[in-house]
Every structure is written in C-alpha cells, then in structure tokens.
C-alpha cells in the first residue's frame, strides 16, 4: 500500500524548471528519504505535497485519493525555514497550530500538554517563546508538527540546527511514530542520517529524479562485486586472473587488508577458495557502497 504517489510532477518558473517529470511512490509506514543537493527541487516537491504551491503538470495521490484541502489535517510539516511566534506563549502557540490542523481546541490543549510533558518542557507552558533556548524552541516546533497525529509527516532538513541530544530525541520519536503507523518523508542533503533512518530513498538532481527504491535494493544494485579481505601472508599476485586486487594495505607485520574485485560470473566462494589456498583469511566482507558514495557518484557524474 502506497501512502503517497506522485505522478509525473512538473513545476516551471519563468526562468527555470524546478521539477521535471518527477514520479515518486512512498510506501506506507516507511521512512522515505528525499535526497538531493541544494537547489535540486526537494523543497518544491514538498511544497507541492503541502499544497503551498500547485504543480503545473502531474498529480499527487494520498492513500489513493487526489490531494485536496481535506488532507491538511493528516499531514504534519516541519519546513526547512521554520520558526514560531516569538511573542506568543508556548501553550497558546501549540494549541493555535493544532487548531489550524483541524483539532478542536479541547483536543489541542490535551495533546499539547501530553507532548510537552513527554519532552520535558511542560514547565515552560506559560512562557513566551522568545524566553526559550533554541533547543526548546526546536522541540516545540517538532511537537507542533506531530500534534494532530498525522499519517504523513514531512520533515525538511529536520536536524539542521538541532544539537546532537535533540537530534537523537527526535530520531527516537520518528521511529516511534513510524511504528505507530505514520509515513515519514525526510528531505535532506546530509547522508549520514539517511543511512541510519531511511528504508526508502529517492534522489533528485537538477530537477530530475535519478534514483528511487528501497535502500537495500539500491545499495544492492550499486554493488560492484568487491570484497574486503583481511589476511595474514601476502598475496603476491598468486590469485587467478578472474580476481583483481584493487588495493593492498599492510596493516601491521605480515597482516594485510586487500580489496578484491571479482570479474565475470565467478562466485564469492571461488574467490574464498583461491584466497584460502594462498593466505590465512581473517575476515571476508562484501564491500557495500554507502548512500553517500552513491549520491556523490550519481550527482558528481552528472556534472
């Protein structure tokens, strides 16, 4: 079941195209990473899903239904450019933002109190936002995003400006929300957090979708049949021709770390057999590319 399907979205501005025929399908209850360098079109995509701007072509379906104002109450959005009313009190502000997402006043008060207690900022309920530290303001922004228990949570660069403690806290909350049934779209250009959080990713570059799928599949398809071997005793060119040693490092006395690529259809077991014959194998691991490497190879290659 797909929580969100975007079909052939195109958005043009007078002097450039922000999105060019981009299609996404975001599985329900996944954490979906929307990746791309700055200016690739991520924020445009997110604004279209939030109905802040309209797509010129294409359509967005949420749970199979065409995007419409009624979806506002099931979407939670934490924009990259985010803030709060500085002169408003914490409680009032959360209740107001909850009401804008169609909660009743009573319900909004109840949930705001529960959340502020959970994140340990309840004692600030009657304080003005301008009196809060940046970290506390960030917690409030996060609460306001998830207050109405949205089915679809959209976080645009959620960790930019968060201190590590808060970032971790938010990560835990994100996992919890996913487990409770929410789908999370997570836009970023910082790859470390993607590796950790996302199960699906899409890579946008220069307004075009260049990669989409589950993290596992993508990594798999970018495998280059390369293995990392730690061994005692040098290889000294004693491997058959179908195996190519890309790298050979002496770690300490007679102890090596080599990177070996398998050419052709030969299986890893064959490689292991050949290795065992010439050296003492201590570890044998397939080299899987990181998202960051894939990202750089895809984006860099396009330039």
């Amino acid at each position: 079941m797909e929580a969100l399907i975007a079909k052939n979205i195109t958005k043009r501005y007078s002097n450039h195209t922000a999105l060019d025929n981009v299609s996404l399908s975001i599985p329900s209850q996944s954490i979906f990473g929307l990746l791309g360098p700055n200016g690739a079109g991520k924020t445009t995509m997110i604004r279209i899903i939030n109905q802040i701007i309209d797509a010129d072509e294409g359509e967005v379906l949420i749970n199979g239904k065409k995007l419409s104002p009624e979806h506002i109450s099931i979407i939670g959005y934490l924009p990259e450019e985010r803030g709060l009313y500085k002169k408003m009190k914490v409680g009032e502000q959360l209740v107001y933002l909850g009401q804008l997402r169609n909660l009743t006043r009573k319900e909004a008060i109840l949930r705001s109190k529960a959340w502020t207690k959970k994140l340990g900022i309840y004692e600030w309920w009657d304080k003005k936002v301008e009196d809060l530290s940046k970290g506390m303001a960030q917690k409030i922004q996060f609460i306001s995003t998830v207050l109405h228990e949205p089915k679809l949570i959209i976080l645009d660069e959620p960790f930019s400006g968060f201190d590590p403690v808060n970032a971790n806290l938010i990560k835990e909350e994100i996992f919890e929300l996913r487990d409770k049934g929410s789908t999370i779209i997570f836009s970023t250009h910082r790859m470390e957090s993607v590796e950790e959080l996302c199960d699906h990713i899409a890579l946008i570059n220069n307004s075009k979708l260049i990669l989409e799928g589950s993290k596992k599949d993508i990594k798999h398809s970018y495998k280059s049949n390369t293995y990392i071997v730690e061994h005692q005793g040098a290889l000294n060119g004693s491997l058959p021709d179908s195996f190519k040693v890309l790298d050979n490092n002496l770690l300490h006395e007679n102890f090596y770390k080599s990177i070996v690529k398998i050419a052709g259809e030969t299986s890893p077991n064959e490689l292991l057999k050949s290795l065992v014959a010439v050296t003492e194998v201590h570890s044998f691991v397939e080299k899987i590319p990181s998202i960051s490497e894939i990202f750089i190879s895809k984006v860099g290659g396009n330039k």
Partner: protein, 425 residues
Amino acid sequence: MNKTFLIIQREFLSRVKKKSFLIATILVPLIFPALIGGIGYVMKKESENANAQVIHVLDQQGSFNFENTDKYEFVKVTGDLETAKTAFAESEDYGLLYIPEFNIESPKGFVLYAKSNPSFSTIGDIENEIEDAIKDDKLQVYNIDKEVLDKLKTKVDLRSVNIAEGEEKESDAGISFAIGYFTGFLIYIFMFAYGGQVMQGVIEEKSSKIVEVIISTVKPFQLMLGKILGVASVGLFQVLIWVVLIAILSTTVLGLLGLEIPHEAAIQGADVETSEKFLRLLANIPFTKIILTFIFYFIGGYMLYGALFAAAGSAVDSPSEAQQFMFPIMIPLIAGIIGMQSIITNPDGNVSFWLSIIPFTSPIAMMGRIGFGVPAWELALSMVLLVLGFIFTTWMAGRIYRVGILMHGVKVNYKTLAKWFMMKN
C-alpha cells in the same frame, strides 16, 4: 471551524493582550483633552500676565494720539530720528514707531523699529492704530461727524440654511469645517497606525519563519485577510473604547462643571445669543450620518491600504527595507490631507469632487465634505468605488503576498513585484 476566523482571533487577542495596547487605549482619550486644555491654559495665563509692550512714538506730524491698550503702551518722544533711535536702543522697551510728516491723502513712510522681528499680529495691531488715527483725521478734514458714521455701521447675522436634502437645515461652515478636518485627519492617522501594524505583523511572520507552517494549513490569502481583519477589529475595538471613555469623561466633567460654564459665561458678558446659536447648530449636525460615514470610510480605507501594507511587508525581510514601498503608498494619503484645504474652503468644487470619488483619497476627502452635505449619488458612487477599490487592492496584494512571504534574501524592486504578481500558483 473556519480557519480565517481562527487567524482573526489570534491577531486580535495577541494585540489586545499587550500592555502597550492597554496604555495607548487609556492614555489617548486622557492625553488629548489634557494637552489641548493645558496649552489653552498656558496661553490664557500668558496673555493675562503679559505686561503691555512699551512703544516709543516719534510723531513728526504731531496729530497722532494713541490710546494705551492691554497690549501696548505708547510713549511719546521728541527730537530727531537719530536721538530717538539711540534712546530706544538704550531702553528696555519693545519698539520705536516713527511717524514722518505725511500727506493725509497718501500716507506713507511709517516705520516700526524693534529689537526683534515683530510678529504679524503686532504689525497688524499697529497698522490698525495708525489707520484709525488717520481715519479720524480724515473725518475732520472732510467735515464728517463721527457719531453719524458710527450709526451707519450695521451688524447683520446671516443664517445660512441648507435645503438641498429637502428639509431645511441651518448650517454653519465653521462647525462643518472643524468636523470635516478632524474626522479626515483621524482617518489619515488610523490608516498609518493600523496599516503599519499589518505590515509589521507580516514582516514578523516572515522573519520569524513561522509563515511556511501556517500556509501549509491555510491559503496565503486567508492568512493575509485574517491579519488585515484582525488588526481592523483591534482598531474598531480601540476606537469604540475611546468613544465610550470620552463620552463618560465628558459627561462626568460636564456634570461637575455643567452649571458653572453658562454661569461664568454670563458673568463675563458673553453673547448669550451666540451660545444659543451654537447649540442650535450643533443639534443640526447630522451626527449619526457622520459617524456611520466615518465607520464606513474607516473600514473601507483601512482595507484598501491594509492590503497594500501587507503586500509591502511580504516583499521585504525587515522594516527598514519596507521604506521604499511605503513612499508610494503614502503619496495618495498625503494628497488627501493636502487636498483637505481646498475641500474645506470649497466643498463642492472640482478638486473636492474628484478627491472624494477616487478610492485612494476618498476616505479622507469625503470626511472633509460630509459635514457640508454631499449629494446622495456622489456619496453612493464614492462608496461603491471604495468597495471595488479595496477588492482590487486586496486581490492584487494577495498575488504578491503569496509569493513574497516565501522569498528570503531576495533583492526586491518593482520589476520583481510585477513578476511575482504574474506568477502562477
């Protein structure tokens, strides 16, 4: 629940709960009467306490005989001009009036020497003294009896009655003038005060970056309209409090002094007929009509300008950047206030007509005219155009606003605004 209403509510409450609102709301009705009363009191004291100014008179004609007044004491001096000047320079007195020998048919050559620049009123007073003296001389020369001449003077009080609306109404240009100027000026002030609040609110939302969260839940147009209407309700609420406070204050004050004022007036020998006439005229002023018109033009004008202020706020990142867009918004308002002079002296003239029809100036200009009576069709036309005007500016501002609020760090000029305006959603 209607979200525009939610926004109006927030805008209203967040402003009304501020201490500055409370202070302004309570102080303004106290400050203005206190200020006017205070200045009046000081002026009165000053004129009461002022010593008569001593003016030396060097009369070479020899026929002048000035009588001393409250303000001036005339001292005759003799000798030639130079000695008189030296004597005057050494004295502490105010002035030296030099009257040369002159031909009574073409009097000239009078000079007032003073140690500072004499005011218009001083010069006028002394001119009157000289003119009166020459007149008396002339009466003698022409053999006219002064008493007969005095009897020739007749005083007529012309009542002006406006029958344009079918019913007879006694009108008074003075009161209409005052009401027109006052209400027009109030509208002018309110446009700036409350329009400025809209602009600041928009800039605040934009610079604190809350705006993207809000417009993911409501249309930008709703947010803008909510803000404009929210500030409008604050304005109306404030004006309402002022009206009530002033009404209570003035009835209390009148209740305390009510008996004393006519009493005192009678003792001072004030013209009872005049004060009766004043009350009669006051009763004839169509206050209900003026108040209703005022509310209409206040709301209409505010909506028109509020939208423009909102658009200006959305285009910039800080209030100082907004200056460049403030100027063109201010021009028609200032034109309206300047036009007021001509409206009040000639309420049915061409300038008055056009200024009170064009929506950008009509809120101010029409208030200037309303006390004098405005033909129904002109009023209707002006009102319809004002409504169309604010629908137009709100629509236009909305198109700029929806793009502007999401733009950060962009250098904005009129070309950019036009581009935003044309941009599709």
